[in-house]
Amino acid sequence: MIEHTADIGIQVTADTASALFSQVAWSMIDLMTEAEAINLTEEKRVTLEGEDYKDLMIRWLNEILFWFDTETFVPGRFTIEEIESRKLVAKLWGERFDRSRHGIGYDIKAATYHELRVEELEGGHWFAQVIFDV
């Protein structure tokens, strides 16, 4: 977690772009509820297109937020099947949000472009910084 006066941000480092996208999504869910408490009973698949990795990251996270608001679906596991700078294919497992079982965290309005970073580091690692509007 990074310090931001009004909102909340996260920084994640991962070995691959796939791992980065799934870890950022997991971290976002963990801000909203307890990711560990989610049963992986339902499966979803998504294909997204974006202008670059940054745009793709925002669309990916906002897609998850959309499912949460419309279907109360909370994912707890993510597999990125395919990723390139303009396209992402992913599989998610989770269940319907249940306040009595899942922790209650932030109501995230959106993942923002503000100070957004999605970068391949030297040595092949990947880094992301995302600030959420809460």
Partner: protein, 496 residues
Amino acid sequence: MDREEGRLKEGGMASEGGTPFKKISDYIWEIPKTGGMRVPGRIFASEAMMRTIKTDKSTDQVANVAHLPGILKYSMAMPDIHWGYGFPIGGVAAMDLQEGVVSPGGVGYDINCGVRLVRTHLTRKDLIGHEKELVKALFHAIPTGVGSRGAIRKLNQGEMEQVAKKGARWAVENGFGEAEDLHFIEENGCLKGADSDLVSQRAYDRGRDQLGTLGSGNHFLEVGVVTEIYLPTVADAFGLFRDQIVIWIHTGSRGFGYQICEESLYDMRRAVQTYGIQLPDSQLACAPIQSPEGQKYMAQMACGANFAWANRQCIMALARGSFEQVFGRSWRELGMYLLYDVCHNIAKREKHALDGVEREVLMHRKGATRAYPPGHPLTPEPYRSVGQPVLVPGDMGRYSFVLVGTEKAMELTFGSSCHGAGRMMSRHAAMREAKGRPIIQELERRGIHIMATGRRTVVEEISEAYKDVADVAHVVDRVGISRKVAKAEPICVIKG
């Protein structure tokens, strides 16, 4: 708090983090025009506040907004300024309608986040012994917190489109409140130009089950008591008196607005390239007001704003129901009339005088409130002789203010004032500060009954995390862009 001026360098220049400031008066600080800035920046704050403000990136954001095409006079920030995304929270920018741009970042994800204040005939002593029952009834009636839904029935597509077009009027037509309420809402609770056909199915789907819900973060419903009256004549006109029970409602357009904002940002990022607009921060993405992209956003944003007004209207109706249940009298007998409803995240067309000539401009207010003066035709008739109410909620543990708009606001800030306390501490820092403290019991010992869906919300919203809203109100009062009318302190609070 304003006595430490000796710390400034001679000539009134202070610099920290690269942004230079020029002192214009005790409460006005200017960021001179440099680089790609089209106008100077102006921050309304005390010297003590400036020291805090300079520690985050919000002053850079004031300078960034000054880069936007068509910005008029100044990129401004109110004393409750803090670090936002794109625009600072507390940011005000007027745009030329022909040359200017509209930026979703100047409105925010929560389109028409705003505040309404309801007055009552009840006094503090009427509430004694009922506090717990009342806070429970409100908490039960009005869903709060992450994933809050189901306050009223789930709306179908046709109903959602009507909400987007009609705003608060839809709520009234469906049994949530009375037609007379609409007179006491900014824009009468319906922003013109809403085109419900331009809103995506995804936005409708996201908002369908959220009308009448508070959400989380800094949103709340508060039952408070008026503890100070500063301007008796104005307070009289507003129907406020000492010891009176009042109700504050702070929320916005929920998932419906967030989705509209999010999708418009994708469009705007492309528009920035199409029109070759140079921006210092991509979250400031924008389009010329007169472009198809700009017009589309304005029409969508109006739908979002209208949803927010319908939302606050429904919440007020639910709150009236909770009071009826607890006090066994009708809301009319309890005198639960809407005092006023303001939006503080909005872009809208307004008439302002520039160099003595009245013209229409596009006002962006992101965490700022309209503050129209006495005599303004858009102020509801009962308040017209005194000015428009400006509603400034504080944090849950201290107090809130009712202010009134002034002519000076028209001169200095395009009829704008502050909107709240403004965060000072990150949520993480607040959590560290509150660690191990029984915050709910601490508040209860001070007579404040709070119910929240998540404990984390209460912890992060501790008073210490916010600027003292009294300092904010003091500055706008001293600058003259609003005047203090009354102060209210919390008794019952529900949060996300």
